[in-house]
């Protein structure tokens, strides 16, 4: 079962949002494990590293964004068995998804579903941006956003 760490990073490299979860797929098949479906399985030492891993990929994202005209930048980095995929919005907000493949060998990671996840997360982000009380780079605290993002994660990852 793959664990994911999704973060949104603002235009000033400030944290906007973070969300940790694991794949919702095959959670029944994995019923032997003691894990709660959707709960991430990162070890404590990795967990505290996650924001740093995300942020350390920013330089790579900024290089990569000029090499393509796509918003989805694909896999851009890896770090001790953690892979990092990124997406950049029109407004220069970065979406970073870190996930481990080492302990979830049964599941092959699927690039196109990650891409779909980013695209829908972007739609969701735009909706959030349309809220008149939200301004760019504010932290996203809306529980509704949490819920909807979870649904998107469930659908694609």
């Amino acid at each position: 079962m793959t664990s994911y760490y999704f973060s949104i990073i603002g235009t000033r490299d400030n944290p906007v949002y973070e969300f940790e979860f694991s794949s919702f797929k095959n959670s029944l098949a994995m019923s032997t494990s003691t894990s709660v479906p959707g709960k991430s399985q990162f070890s404590a030492s990795i967990k505290e590293m996650l924001p740093f891993i995300s942020n350390s990929s920013l330089d790579i994202i900024e290089d990569a964004q000029w090499t393509t005209n796509l918003f989805y930048l694909g896999k851009i980095d890896s770090f001790y068995g953690l892979l990092v995929n990124a997406f950049i919005t029109q407004g220069n907000i970065k979406f970073v998804l870190c996930y481990d493949v080492s302990n979830g060998t049964t599941q092959k990671y699927d690039d196109s579903s990650i891409k779909q996840f980013f695209i829908e997360a972007n739609d969701l982000y735009v909706k959030c941006l349309l809220n008149p009380f939200y301004s760019v780079n504010d932290a996203i605290v809306s529980p509704d956003f949490d819920l909807r993002l979870k649904l998107i994660a469930k659908k694609y990852l």
């Binding site: 909706k127 349309l130 009380f133």
Partner: protein, 182 residues
Amino acid sequence: MSKKGDDIWKNVDKINSELFTLTYGSIVAQLCRDFNHNYHEVNNQLDQMGYNIGIRLIEEFLSRTGAQRCQSFKETVEVITKLGFRVFLNIQPAVENWSSDGRSCSIVLPEPNPLNEFVEIPPTKDLWYCQILCGILRGALQMIQLDVDVNFVKDTLKGDDKTEIRLKLNKILKDEVPAGED
């Protein structure tokens, strides 16, 4: 009456609803910043803005619909919901909770409310996000000699089950008398 509302709605100029929603949202958000999140003051400002709109909008409404003077407050409320809201916002609120004397009632705005789309209000109990509607109703009704108290009692943005505006008819204003006559 609903049919008439539909017909008029078809012929009015429309604007993009997102532009409308975002414009209103920016106004409210800017007021919140300008008044340092003193939400009582924000409500007052919205109400006053609505009032200024209402005293003009009523002329537009009357000339478009050719509405005649109503015979009762019940009829007035019916015209507001079936024609007024229909023509200007393309929604038709429900009327509920008439008081026994027929002088106060509730207007329940249907979901989705075009002003509320995308909106999540700050965590406060004080802000009535759509307060401008109260001002508009108050201003418009005052121009046709009805002194009415209009205020919100429930708002889905605050987690209530519905968005409810309470109307209370205070009195019917008399025509003004020219100076020097009594």
